[in-house]
């Protein structure tokens, strides 16, 4: 089955083609056909991924590396770029949860989007197209195919965020997402080409393939490798919403909630982390870039959490939470714990998708209400939603026994172990904030009295099974998904770490960092600190939102500046607009006036004037007088005679 890895992207592609071309007509016949084409497509992809995974497990660790070439895309001189897929532990891990979670969300979407008339097929087409692009991204064995997927998910993100494009704000949110993505992609392309040229000049090898590049990464000077790493990371900040290019993610909540779950929780935003993990040999060769990655990740995690503390829109809180958790992932890969970052990707996909789906369920029940000030008391009316949401909150807070605990603990533990104490501290404080704001959401939404409007109250109902079943499955995964990475300290075998390690070393026997080892005591201490911080966060949230309801108000009045900064997202959007947006617009105006009006139009007017003038002058030859013409005739004859003879 490994040889048939190309089936994984093929199924969604077929889904796109059928639903895209025939969708409009199929929808008129029956909506069922559409989701019966789209969902099984992803399901089959998951099945194939699973089968390949099992085959891979049967092989010894050193042999788990296959590159399957499908066809030769283009060849130019020495460069040859193929459509080829790489099967190794890292890529298959990504493929598993991408297709798995994707499949669950496809099923959820059936219930969520069924009432949208005339657009059902469009939604599933875009969703399948997204899956196709994402799979290409993670399975690619060369930068070019990866970039294809990279751009593809960006496009699908735009299409899906602005899905209800009749609303101007939604359309503009889609544009914003795509533009910030594009800025990042600029960095990615520059990094890609710099890598290509440097490697080519130093070794004479012109290639975009990962294995060839990483085998020769030592030939690249360290400074250049650092720059490449930074440029590629710029692309990652755009795609994975880190500082400075994160501002599109909160606005991206304009799209349907399943879209937020899939793209902005589980898959697209993790593409950046995957890219850094995949290029581990390169980053290890240029350590400064890796340090920047970790730093940006840590700061973003903290920074996003501060903004999540005060938001009123339930989806926005979860969005900021995503940015924050992505910061954790970058922190993980940045401290040389690549497997830890990837582990967090996997667990995060489970509970974050669950959080979004739960929020979607709540919004669906409240007929579209997203403001938490108008929620409350839904615990009894939406039991399944409540319990799954609770499980997700516990997971993200890092409570022992749930998946989030293991992945977060691995990241923070490795950070401390490798000497990044400042980042460890930042991460731990952020963990406290995380548990606080997540439980704030839980308490505001589900506990207390229902503050919804009367009309809305009447229609509150639990979601249909197509929506609740995926949530339940994700809840189970949120609990048990962490057990693949139980550290040795607690008696586990840390399987995921060992599984993923071969992906990060390409024939480098020498490991670049000195592996520290913490004593068992320190490890236990760190775990306990983490748990205490998490529980503290929950307790404070409980105090503020269950026991003493006036506390938030009083705090806000006591520290108005902090509150405003947090609530208004630190005014970053406005800063960008003023610093960059306005000057560019102004520049555009100036250029229009000078270049377009004067020069381009002037050139056209000049030609017009010239033609007119010449025509006007030549007019006078047409006298209509016979003898006038005779003179010219004669002149011509005479000249002919005298010049020829």
């Amino acid at each position: 089955m490994i040889a048939k890895v190309w089936l994984i992207p093929l199924f969604p592609l077929i889904g796109v083609l059928i639903n895209g071309i025939l969708g409009a007509k199929l929808e008129k016949i029956s909506k069922k056909i559409i989701h019966w084409i789209a969902c099984p497509a992803v399901g089959l992809s998951f099945l194939v991924s699973w089968m390949i995974f099992r085959e891979l497990l049967n092989l010894p660790p050193a042999h788990r590396h296959f590159e399957i070439v499908v066809y030769n895309w283009f060849t130019s001189g020495e460069l040859s770029v193929n459509v080829a897929y790489l099967v190794d532990p890292l890529s298959i891990t990504m493929a598993l949860f991408v297709t798995g979670v994707g499949f669950l969300i496809h099923i959820y979407s059936i219930g969520y989007m069924i009432h949208d008339e005339g657009r059902y097929y469009r939604y599933f087409t875009y969703l399948n197209l997204f899956m196709f692009s994402m799979i290409n991204l993670i399975l690619a064995n060369n930068f070019v195919l990866m970039f294809l997927g990279w751009e593809g998910v960006g496009v699908c993100s735009y299409l899906l965020i602005g899905f209800w494009f009749e609303n101007r704000e939604f359309a503009s949110a889609g544009k914003k997402a795509f533009i910030y993505n594009r800025i990042g992609d600029y960095g990615f392309i520059l990094g890609m080409f710099l890598l290509f040229f440097t490697l080519g000049r130093k070794t004479g090898i012109y290639t975009f393939n990962f294995s060839e590049i990483f085998a020769h990464v030592n030939f690249i000077p360290v400074s250049i490798a650092t720059i490449i790493g930074l440029l590629l990371f710029l692309g990652a900040t755009g795609k994975s919403a880190q500082i400075p290019l994160y501002v599109w993610l909160p606005d991206a909540m304009a799209g349907p909630t399943p879209v937020s779950a899939l793209i902005h929780a589980a898959t697209m935003v993790t593409a950046g982390v995957y890219m850094v993990a995949r290029c581990a040999p390169l980053y290890m060769h240029g350590p400064f870039a890796l340090y920047v990655v970790a730093l940006v990740g840590g700061i973003t995690a903290f920074y996003a959490a501060t903004m999540a503390l005060t938001q009123h829109d339930i989806k926005k809180v979860i969005a900021y939470s995503t940015i924050s958790q992505l910061g954790y992932m970058f922190l993980g890969v940045g401290v040389y714990a690549f497997a830890a970052g990837v582990f967090h990707i996997v667990t995060h996909s489970f509970f974050k998708a669950l959080l979004f789906l739960g929020a979607g369920s709540v919004i669906h029940a409240l007929s579209g209400e997203q403001d938490m000030r108008k929620m409350g008391g839904l615990k009894d009316k939406l039991p399944i939603t409540y319990w799954t949401f609770l499980i997700a909150c516990l997971a993200i807070s890092g409570i022992p026994g749930f998946s989030g605990f293991f992945s977060k603990d691995m990241i923070l533990g490795k950070a401390f172990e490798n000497g990044y104490y400042f980042l460890w501290a930042l991460g731990t404080i952020t963990a406290g904030m995380t548990s606080f704001y997540m439980f704030r959401v839980l308490f505001l939404t589900f506990h207390g009295e229902c503050r919804a409007d009367e009309e809305v109250k009447k229609h509150i109902h639990e979601s249909p099974p197509s929506m609740t079943v995926p949530m339940i499955i994700l809840a189970i995964l949120s609990i048990f998904g962490g057990y693949i990475g139980v550290p040795e300290a607690l008696g586990g075998s840390n399987r995921i770490w060992k599984f993923l390690q071969p992906s990060f070393h390409y024939g480098h026997e020498k490991v670049h960092i000195v592996e520290h080892h913490m004593s068992l005591g320190v490890e236990y201490l760190l775990m306990i600190i983490a748990v205490i911080v998490a529980v503290l966060g929950i307790y404070i949230a409980y105090l503020m939102y269950v026991k003493n309801r006036e506390l938030p108000e009083k705090l806000a009045q006591k520290y108005p500046l902090l509150y405003r900064l947090s609530y208004n997202k630190w005014y970053v959007d406005e800063i960008y607009e003023g610093l960059i947006g306005r000057p560019l617009y102004f520049l555009g105006q100036v250029l229009w006036m000078i270049w377009d009006e004067l020069i381009v139009d002037g050139a056209v007017r000049f030609i017009y004037g010239t033609v007119r003038g010449v025509g006007g002058a030549l007019r006078y030859i047409q006298t209509g007088n016979l003898q006038f013409y005779v003179v010219f005739l004669l002149l011509g004859i005479l000249i002919t005679i005298f010049y020829i003879l």
């Binding site: 003898q627 006038f628 003179v631 002149l635 005479l638």
Partner: protein, 173 residues
């Protein structure tokens, strides 16, 4: 003897031609034209082409010029009196070019062949240019152009008749 006649004829031809171009009255102009043609016919005769000279006088000077006088009478009687002698610019330019041409042509065409040595008539072959000889040539070597010319003349007649026909049901004129 012949030389004297020759030169008189040449002078008369040149003078008549100048009068053709310069005469105010178109009828006068036509008559001077007849004179020019007649003088050329004389020179043809002196050169030994009797048949041609005869044809020239009958056809050219006789039929064609008569036709022209006819049409002058029909059309341009009123034009006699008013004659402004203003020359336009293009006309002056044209005249200049022609003068230049004339000078160049004389210099390159005539002067190399210059020779005023006596006219020698004795070298004219006996039957050269006589009617018999012409007729012989006309019906053997040049029979094809001969036939064609007759067709051409037919076409000319038909065309002229058609062109000048008055439209039916025309009140005025």
């Amino acid at each position: 003897m012949d030389v004297i006649i020759f030169f008189i004829a040449v002078v008369f031809a040149m003078g008549s031609a100048i009068m053709v171009v310069g005469a105010k009255n178109p009828v006068h102009s036509a008559l001077w034209m007849v004179s020019t043609l007649f003088c050329t016919a004389v020179i043809y005769l002196l050169l030994g082409f009797d048949f041609l000279a005869a044809i020239q006088v009958i056809v050219y000077a006789g039929a064609i010029m008569m036709l022209i006088v006819y049409v002058i009478m029909l059309t341009s009687i009123e034009e006699e009196i008013k004659r402004k002698y203003k020359l336009r610019l293009f006309q002056i330019v044209g005249i200049a070019f022609i003068v230049i041409f004339f000078i160049q042509a004389v210099r390159y065409g005539m002067v190399p062949l210059h020779g005023w040595e006596g006219l020698c008539w004795k070298e004219i072959p006996e039957r050269f240019g006589s009617v018999n000889y012409v007729a012989l040539k006309l019906f053997t070597k040049y029979v094809f152009p001969f036939e064609l010319v007759s067709v051409l003349l037919l076409a000319g007649i038909a065309g002229a008749v058609y062109l000048a026909k008055k439209e039916k049901n025309k009140e005025n004129r």
